[in-house]
Amino acid sequence: MASATHFLLALLLLSFPYFFLQSSLFVSADQELIQKTCQGTKYPDLCISTIQYDPSSSTADKKGLAVIVLHNATATATATYMYLSNEGAKNGTSPEFQKVIKYCTDKYGYARNALDGSLQDMASDQYDDAALEASAAVEYPKSCYDEFTMRSGLTYPVELAQREKVLEHLCEVAVGILSLLS
């Protein structure tokens, strides 16, 4: 009887660190988890800064971290969509420029929709589909650049180039985290 009690106590003591580790992985995101997750992505610095900026990151698990990055990417796509809509409405620009801006607005609209879709997939734990949507969101704005370069007399606006880059990097970070989940 005494030996059985000793065995149970030993088992409890040995399993305690395991349960502790498990709970830290799935319930809260400490710095270590953020660091470890972000190191697996293409842009670790952007990943860490984006996640740490969000107050909900302290209690987030890996899935939560991916959601934070996806929300940021969606916000970037939406902001660029709005920016382009305003650019298109500006007076004094050439009709050709406006035509291309309209085209680009649509592309950023697609990117935003794809990221919305990605968040929906996350909600139903479809990580593969979520990663595909995020990958697609990188591709849509690329045709905007192509459209600008194809037309003579038009230069790709620096502001738009920067926005495209930020969106691309955020999406790639999200894809990186999602690949760790799936």
Partner: protein
């Protein structure tokens, strides 16, 4: 394209990943370059090309190298994506037999884990087989194939949203279970289409219920637009269920009056023909309230108290926005204009198109039939529906187009049956030439080539007619020679008088 779900078993995770990547690429490209598919799919170990080849083998993708090398999704590929998503959601676990073919949809039985059987409706806008005459020439002229997938998705979403909203308002419709892409899952209606019912115990009650539904829909600001015996299911207890309403419009639509009248007309004509019913001056609503009727006892749209806000409020909850509604209505209206303009260009336009309606416009077979025959314009929608149903059955029928021209003096009801046969055959086996044959008197004189062709056809028709007469005469003369026939006896008596 036949839906063979067996292939689903052999598709890997990578296959679906690439298929989904093509779908995503199609938001941006009509034909998706394989490099883009590769970038979106980003398979861990590469091999996108091998997967694309496999998908191509199963006809889930179509390869196009006309402009540049790329791929696009086929309806089968789209079906598989929708089915996989719904299976993942746990909506159903197995796909059964095909239980119906609509003008722009296929319906299958599906079952969930409990064994509950449901209906899966796959919308297929732009399907070629129902557009025999028109589509073979120019149906996709101004449109990309993705538009069809997109529009099919919108049609499915619209039907799902309406079904849910109507169910909530107590209309007898199937229970809307789920919707993904162009696929709608609904409860299976236990019953038969009204068109198959030859006898009813209480035809008056059924009739009143059906007219009551039309009126009540109008009170909710809606018109079915395709309300006929094919879209009404009736069970053994004579309980009515309304199905198939992706073309439903608001009472604020510019052609609302015409759609409403046509829906009512269809029901009146069907019941008077099938159940020999005669109609009173007043029609009672299902709620017991009296609805104003015209001289023929039919309800008037103008006298119905309507709530037009129904669409916006109720449908948005299912994700069907006003914007989606605008897109799909624009498409339908666009089809009207496009069809009319192409008729001007390519076929003889007799000027009846203005009377055509949305429901008809969506079926190019019907349009051409209407173009051909001014005397059949009064024929009800049922005729067109029957045309299409039978068209499908007799797609491979022989060239009996001469018969088609000989029935123009039949009354409307008889015409329905005749036209089912003749115009299906005419449209499907002979295409535009047959129409020209019938309409040659209105051809534009300037078009020399067309005139030459028409003259040739006219000569051929006259020759055929002469040949027919000759055969008839020779047969009669042969009979007369017999001496014992009734004809020769009469002839002898006549000559003796």
């Amino acid at each position: 394209m036949k839906l063979n779900v067996d292939v689903l078993r052999y598709l890997s995770k990578d296959d679906f990943r690439v298929l989904t990547a093509v779908e995503m690429g199609m938001r941006n490209h009509e034909i998706v370059p394989s490099e883009l598919v590769d970038r979106i799919a980003s398979l861990k170990h590469g091999g996108t090309y091998k997967v694309l080849k496999n998908l191509l083998k199963h006809k889930l993708l179509h390869h196009d190298s006309s402009k540049y090398d790329g791929f696009r999704l086929t309806y089968l590929g789209y079906d598989f994506l929708a089915i996989k998503t719904l299976v993942n959601r746990g909506v159903f676990t197995s796909v059964g037999r095909q239980i119906g073919v609509g003008k722009e949809s296929d319906i299958f039985e599906v079952a969930n884990e409990d064994g509950t059987i449901m209906a899966m409706k796959l919308h297929r806008l732009g399907r070629v087989s129902f557009r025999a005459v028109k589509s073979k020439r120019d149906y996709l002229r101004h449109r990309s194939s993705y538009s069809w997938l997109y529009l099919s998705r919108l049609a499915a979403l619209k039907e799902f949203a309406f079904m849910k909203a109507l169910e909530e308002h107590g209309f007898p419709v199937p229970n809307a279970v789920d919707c993904n892409r162009h696929c709608v899952i609904m409860s299976l209606v236990q019953g038969y289409p009204l068109v198959q019912v030859k006898q009813l115990q209480n035809p008056e009650i059924v009739f009143e219920t059906i007219i009551g539904i039309v009126v009540r829909l109008a009170e909710h600001g809606l018109i079915h637009c395709d309300f006929n015996e094919f879209n009404i299911m009736i069970d053994d207890d004579e309980k009515v269920t309304m199905i198939d309403f992706p073309q439903m419009v608001s009472v604020s639509h510019r052609n609302a009056q015409m759609y409403f009248d046509r829906d009512v007309d269809c029901i009146f004509k069907f019941f008077s023909k099938r159940f020999n019913m005669s109609f009173q001056e007043k029609t009672e609503d299902v709620d017991g309230s009296q609805v104003d009727t015209d001289d023929n006892g039919r309800p008037c749209l103008s006298s119905i108290e309507k709530t037009t806000s129904f669409l916006d409020k109720e449908l948005a909850a299912s994700g069907f926005t006003r914007k989606d509604q605008d897109v799909i209505e624009k498409f339908i209206d666009g089809e009207i204009e496009e069809d009319q303009s192409s008729d001007d260009e390519e076929t003889v336009d007799e000027g009846h198109n203005s009377e055509l309606n949305e429901g008809n416009i969506r079926d190019f077979n019907s349009i051409h039939l209407l173009d051909q025959r001014d005397q059949t314009l009064n024929c009800d929608q049922k005729c067109e529906e029957e045309d299409q149903q039978l068209c499908e059955a007799v797609q491979s029928s022989g060239p009996e187009t001469q018969d088609a021209i000989n029935h123009q003096t039949l009354n409307c009801d008889q015409k329905c049956e005749e036209e089912d046969r003749q115009f299906c055959e005419a449209g499907q086996s002979n295409g535009p030439e047959t129409q020209d044959e019938e309409d040659n008197h209105t051809v534009n004189e300037d078009d020399a080539e067309l005139m030459k062709r028409l003259n040739k056809q006219r000569r051929r028709a006259i020759t055929a007619a002469h040949r027919g007469r000759k055969t008839l005469a020779s047969r009669n003369s042969y009979k007369d020679k017999g001496g014992n026939s009734q004809n020769s006896k009469i002839q002898k008596q006549l000559s003796s008088w």
